[in-house]
Amino acid sequence: MINLVLSNILRMLFLVFLQITLLNNINLHNTINPYIYVLFILLLPLNTPIWGLLFMSFFTGLIVDSFTNTPGLHTSAIVLMAFCRPLIIQFVTPRGGYENEPIPSLKNMGERWFITYATILVFIHHFSLFFLEAFRLSEFFITLSRVILSCIFTMALILIGQYFFTKKTKR
């Protein structure tokens, strides 16, 4: 249990650090802008209570916001994502229901489940983030193309991380 809490805290610190030092400076063709810190919320244990999800996402969002000079922008996007997480988990139930997997990672849950789950949530986060940032509908298609391309890039980074740096957790 303590191990689980500690590894989640370390993961959060690492992802936020990676985001503010490296990924906030990545710019491909002026549209692609990956936000990998959302992986922290994606990988929280399946039985995390929803108030825990909401408060942790709020806190993470505030930290990222203070480093990008955008109070409330990342916070609102990631809180929305955390709120949607239990709904999406119900929506993409694997055949035979959930067993007692502690962490919904790629190696624990299978590729198909994880990719559907992560893509939907990352899309929700990026969509609300980029549209709140632009805050006007006159740039709808430019913003939408940013959302989709950044979403693909973030997913690619998440999958690379999942394939290379995770082990299947023992039950």
Binding site: I50, S66, P71
Partner: protein, 282 residues
């Protein structure tokens, strides 16, 4: 009452979500407002110190570019020295002495404060810059920021040691600009697509706009002095049925590698704003 509590407890997740979401949206909307002070930005001490630490390590990578830009600027400044001009009048020595003695001291309108960029972005829709100078060096809200090549932005928040700047690459920024040869004025905005191009709008279609003409600031605002370089007209066209030009301006400021900037303190800004306030009542 009991039913209400039961209802709240049953749906606590939804209400907690709404509370947190409304809090962050409020932060976001207040954050776009000029008159505010919040700790969630890089003008606060912790984040500011972090950025100056990161900036110190990055400095080494751009030394040659900075050296070049400083050398060019030195050259330009040296060319403006009085000693580089040839004085044709024999008695001009006496003339200049008596003329300049008290005028320049009392009528100096702009003061430049050097600052170093410690954080900068160009890839967002709304970009901000953090500087390593703050209120202790005389920086205040709404001062203009320029670099040796052109304009950079407007100061947003100030703490004792740091300040944040709204970059020209921001959706809310609108700068009064004019073409250098024909003096047609309009507003400069950024459409969020290319960090090297901005758009000049509100120029009526009956004037002639030449490609390659320089765009500079006007004397209308209390923020920037007149004639500061903005860029060069890259493309000008009139959409069918439109009364205004759509003009692309190639920005002269290299936002990708900003290092040293100057914050402009306009000593007559308060006076100008005060007298212009009277116009609003009419």
């Amino acid at each position: 009452m009991r039913n209400l509590w039961l209802f709240l407890i049953k749906n606590y997740a939804l209400f907690l979500f709404l509370v947190l979401e409304i809090t962050s949206i409020t932060l976001l909307i207040n954050g776009n407002n000029y008159q505010r002070s919040t700790i969630i930005n890089s003008a606060n001490g912790v984040v500011g110190n972090w950025f100056s630490m990161v900036s110190k390590t990055e400095d080494y990578l751009s030394l040659s570019v900075v050296n070049d830009s400083l050398a060019t600027e030195n050259e330009r400044l040296k060319n403006e020295l009085k000693s580089t001009f040839y004085i044709s009048k024999i008695d001009s020595g006496i003339l200049t002495d008596t003329l300049t003695a008290n005028d320049t001291v009392t009528l100096k309108q702009y003061r430049y404060i050097t600052a170093k960029v410690i954080n900068n972005s160009i890839i967002k829709r709304n970009n901000y810059i953090t500087l390593n100078r703050g209120s202790l060096n005389g920086i205040k809200r709404n001062m203009g920021v320029v670099c040796s090549n052109g304009i950079v932005g407007i100061v947003k928040d100030v703490s004792p040691h740091f300040s944040t700047v709204i970059s020209l690459l921001h959706k809310d920024i609108k700068i009064s600009a004019q073409t250098m040869s024909t003096l047609d004025f309009g507003s400069l905005v950024w459409d969020g697509i290319n960090p090297r191009r901005a758009q000049l709008i509100d120029i009526p279609n009956h004037v002639t706009i030449r490609k390659g003409d320089k765009v500079v600031t006007t004397a209308f605002s209390s923020i920037f002095p007149e004639g500061i370089n903005i860029g060069v007209i890259n493309n000008a066209s009139i959409e069918t049925g439109d009364n205004f030009y759509s003009i692309d301006v190639e920005l002269s400021t290299p936002f990708e590698h900003l290092e040293y900037v100057y914050v402009i303190d306009n000593r007559m800004a308060a006076e100008q704003l005060k007298i212009e306030e009277g116009l609003r009542d009419d």
